[in-house]
């Protein structure tokens, strides 16, 4: 059985699904180019991303399964899990057979695999909406660098554009070199490569200090429990947290 290799985009993944159905040849693996590890037993099939094919799959999911299923596979894709591609294919095959009710098969692995990934991505998205920290720069842009475990940065645009509707901001996924931008009007995504130095606004450090102090004062010293703290807020996120420095 072949291994499908796609360009890493969501459209690429949906194209792979389309091709699998069209060729009636279901692959053993669907991986993005970056995750692919070659070995001589594998028959490689390179997928040519095609927006028309991807749209057809998208429409078919909405029609034959549900909007919920659509967002489920989107989140599963964002998990960047090595098996996300094949899990999505298996889930969709099951979904096209059963229809809307597919998500009630909670104990079925085809559904369960997707749900587990969705939970991880949803959790991180929710966590990040609380723990990203904006720094006010000299040019009046609020700048938040992050390194999420999953590809969740793109899910944060809407939340912050609604919330901070009167401030220009950038949420920068340092690991994946892209970001969410908001210009007081609309938000969009774009690649980022920062060349010049980042210069803080003159008030920035003052508020950072106050926040650090508040964080310290509000801790109940007799109940220190670092394990509980890092259960909620895993250490891998601490790098960009003002209060954890």
């Amino acid at each position: 059985m072949p291994c499908y290799i796609y360009d890493g985009s969501f459209d690429g993944l949906l194209t792979a699904i389309y091709d699998a159905y069209y060729n009636k040849d279901f692959p053993e693996q669907i991986v993005s180019r970056d995750n692919f590890i070659d070995n001589f037993l594998i028959t490689k099939v390179y997928i040519q991303t095609d927006e028309e094919k991807s749209k057809k799959v998208h429409d078919a999911i909405l029609q034959k399964i549900s909007r919920h299923a659509m967002s489920g596979i989107m989140y599963a894709y964002l998990s960047e899990h090595e098996n996300a591609g094949i899990y999505i294919l298996e889930y969709l095959r099951f979904g096209f057979k059963t229809g809307r009710i597919v998500d009630s098969y909670l104990a079925d692995d085809r559904v369960n695999n997707i749900n587990r990934l969705v939970t991880k991505v949803t959790r991180e998205k929710h966590l990040l909406s609380g723990i990203i920290r904006f720094r006010l720069l000299q040019n009046n842009i609020y700048y938040a660098p992050i390194e999420p475990q999953y590809n969740t940065t793109c899910l944060l645009g809407k939340h912050f554009a609604e919330r901070m509707s009167d401030q220009i901001f950038v949420i920068h996924d340092v690991k994946r070199s892209y970001g969410v931008f908001y210009d007081k009007n609309k938000w969009f995504m774009s690649d980022i490569s920062i060349k010049e130095d980042i210069v803080f606004h003159e008030n920035e450090l003052f508020y950072q200090e106050l926040w650090k102090h508040y964080f310290d004062y509000t801790t109940i010293k007799s109940r220190i429990n670092p394990k509980l703290q890092s259960n909620h807020m895993p250490k891998r996120y601490w790098k960009y947290l003002i209060e954890m420095k």
Partner: protein
């Protein structure tokens, strides 16, 4: 006094106030404004003690004219005092919010000069936030007992949640420990807020554009262990607060000894386990369809500290068990120890497409540790050598399996209960999606 020093003094006495919840209100941002209230509530950090920081929790001032025995801020206590100006407070809130440090403001205060004066300052601060700074983030304000109706009603127009702390669960206890406060001075503002909310809801039905009044509802806090009041009395009080005053939440706070006045009990450690049991029971009242009479009665007015209230109830009512997971209705499932709201919803959803056995339950993420004594799948008990069916041995098994770990972690458990609103949020969401 510099701002940092003020923050130090005024956050220090506010930190024990347990309500950190920022959920339950949805306030949309306005064009060109800053902030909105997310109905699900968001934690912004966790302090080294493991508690979630959601709101900037702070006092306007800790100068107090009263002398409540259980309180650090009582006038007879010799501690450093400070007061914010409304401007300072507003600036701090906005600047923290813009940097995504916080979800909003939780503003409380000691009683400075007079209840009316204090309430006026609180009103001034929140009004400025909303009107001058166009701030639409979450605001929770304490209503000061004894303040005039007009001020409390006016404040209600600007905030998401208001609370009046009852603190002591009975009139006698108040007399003993907070002689300047009366039951009436506490109940009055609560009634006022309640009718304000009801009236507002009616207006909203008629005019969509009617201004909001405390859309996140009201809450209160009770101190546990500073008086002789038993769990039954406390739980009954909570129950009537939920039923008659339509409160959103009652918070319980284990009494932290702050002075050794003769009217106070001589305790060294706060009764955290008791607080934890009360939170569990409160949960059962609000989401599981229990009433206080089922959980406690005159003969047993206090919770068994070793056993959670639901298991306790189940063991006393073994005749209603085991229940068959493939048949029992949603509310019956909810009464099974170890099965929570999420698990019950999953079972109901999962069994629509196929009969469930124990392996399926595990795949659904249902923990069988407690539940296995109380359920059957396809008519069979959990496949284990001997599942006891008499109350005493079930209780022993449960205690055994709870093992020592849990008892060492009492503090941890208790702290969990400080932010269970995150879970409430999930509940909320699944309601909307119609799983119930």
């Amino acid at each position: 006094m510099d701002l940092n020093e003020k923050i130090k003094i005024l956050s220090d006495s506010a930190k024990y106030d347990v309500s950190c919840s920022s959920s339950g209100s949805s306030r949309k941002n306005k064009k060109g404004g800053i902030g909105n209230a997310a109905p699900s509530g968001i934690c912004h950090s966790w302090t080294p003690d493991g508690r979630c920081i959601s709101l900037l929790k702070i006092l306007l001032t800790n100068y107090c004219i009263y002398d409540c025995k259980y309180c650090v801020n009582r006038v007879s206590n010799d501690i450093p005092r400070a007061a914010f100006t409304p401007d300072e407070l507003v600036n701090l809130t906005i600047n923290f919010y813009r940097r995504n440090y916080i979800e909003g403001l939780f503003l409380s205060s000691a009683v400075c000069v007079s209840p009316d004066h204090t309430m006026e300052m609180l009103l001034k601060s929140v009004k400025r936030l909303r009107e001058e700074f166009n701030f639409n983030g979450y605001i929770h304000v304490k209503a000061i007992p004894g303040a005039s109706n007009v001020l409390i009603e006016e404040t209600g127009k600007y905030v998401d949640r208001m609370s009046v702390n009852i603190e002591l669960p009975s009139g006698e206890s108040l007399k003993l420990l907070a002689p300047q406060k009366t039951k009436e001075s506490i109940i009055k503002p609560m009634g006022l807020i309640k009718s304000g909310i009801i009236q507002n809801r009616e207006e909203k039905l008629k005019f969509k554009s009617a201004p909001q009044f405390v859309p996140g509802g009201q809450s209160t806090q009770l101190i546990v262990g500073a008086t002789k009041d038993d769990d039954l009395k406390i739980l009954k009080l909570s129950e009537s607060l939920y039923n008659s005053y339509k409160l959103k939440r009652v918070y319980y706070s284990a009494y932290v000894p702050v002075s050794n006045h003769p009217n106070l009990p001589a305790i060294i450690k706060p009764p955290l386990l008791r607080e934890h049991r009360l939170y569990q029971a409160d949960w059962l009242l609000r989401f599981y369809g229990f009433n206080s009479g089922e959980l406690l009665n005159e003969e047993n007015p206090n919770f068994d500290e070793l056993l959670d209230p639901k298991s306790g109830w189940a063991i006393r009512n073994l005749d209603t068990f085991p229940v068959e997971v493939n048949k029992a209705d949603y509310y019956t499932l909810l009464r099974v120890p170890g099965i929570g709201v999420k698990s019950a919803q999953r079972i109901v959803q999962g069994r629509r497409v196929s009969m469930l056995d124990f392996d399926d339950l595990k795949k659904l993420g249902i923990v069988l540790k407690r539940a296995k004594y109380f359920i059957t799948c396809k008519g069979r008990y959990f496949p284990q050598k001997s599942i006891p069916t008499n109350p005493v041995s079930i209780k022993n098994r449960l205690l055994l399996e709870d093992n020592i770990r849990d008892h060492e972690n009492v503090e941890q458990l208790s702290l969990f209960s400080l932010f269970p609103d995150i879970m409430a949020a999930e509940l909320h969401m699944s309601r909307i999606t119609g799983v119930l």
